[in-house]
Symmetry: D2
Subunit: 90 residues, 4 copies
């Protein structure tokens, strides 16, 4: 079981809100709402997903990385920082 189990309910609540935001953006596009208001909602959905990502990363470092040993730990650190790099570029 991975480290985020303890935060699972909170992560799922955040993700349901992000899903609702993305659905709201679809409705805004469908109803021809003003571009800038839609961009504001996209920034909000991005922020929600960023918070989920940072929380998962925190759990990953806390559990998977810290408890691993030797080359397994090396691999897990490399995975974590590659994931951060992908997030920074997304």
């Amino acid at each position: 079981m991975y480290g985020y189990a303890e935060d699972k309910d909170e992560l799922l609540a955040r993700l349901r809100r992000a899903e609702g935001q993305v659905r709201g953006i679809q409705r805004m596009v469908d109803e021809d709402e003003y571009c800038i208001d839609i961009l504001t909602q996209i920034a909000a959905a991005n922020s929600a997903l960023r918070k989920v990502a940072v929380s998962l990363l925190d759990d990953h470092i806390r559990h998977c990385v810290s408890e691993a040993r030797g080359s397994s730990r090396e691999a897990k650190v490399a995975e974590a920082t590659a994931a951060v790099d992908r997030l920074l570029k997304s």
Copy 2:
């Protein structure tokens, strides 16, 4: 009617995929999948939303900004660049 009307079907298709990605992330969290795989999916959802945002911004500049005149144009440019700033920080 705003400028993005012509791209509406493509925007809605992208947004439905992004919604599906966010729902997939919920399922991954719910089924205790590996953190790093979930982070990869979050980066993918961010990228999908970024593409929608850039497409909306393109339409906004093309139509609202370029066709406005005088102080109305000033205001629309300011709105557009403030929206870019919010996206860059999200």
Copy 3:
């Protein structure tokens, strides 16, 4: 002459500060300062560059895009939004 001429002094002042921040980061690395403090300085330098970018984009849209006509305007809008996309991914 491009649109940013009027803001040139302010842009140059911001860029000199960003250059100073990057030089400060080198000194911190050279003197083995604490990683997290260096990461904080990198975030500050990124923010400084983001502000310069948003200001240049504002000038570009205001002058180059709004004053162009026909296919030249199309090309300038496409350039501007491609630049935003590169910034969002950088």
Copy 4:
């Protein structure tokens, strides 16, 4: 001595290049070069700083986090993920 000592030369070389890029951006602004070309250089400088940040984070997690114990480790993980959050928002 922190974890990044072994990569110090490479980090310093990258940072000197980033400093050169920021100086180049100043020259471009000073010589009224085309906005979009300047934005491209800003994206390049951001990417250079992102690589330095990810490398420092890698070292930090590898050394400071993994070797700490108990509440000290908790604090170091929290610092690392707060730094990632600041980078994602910068």
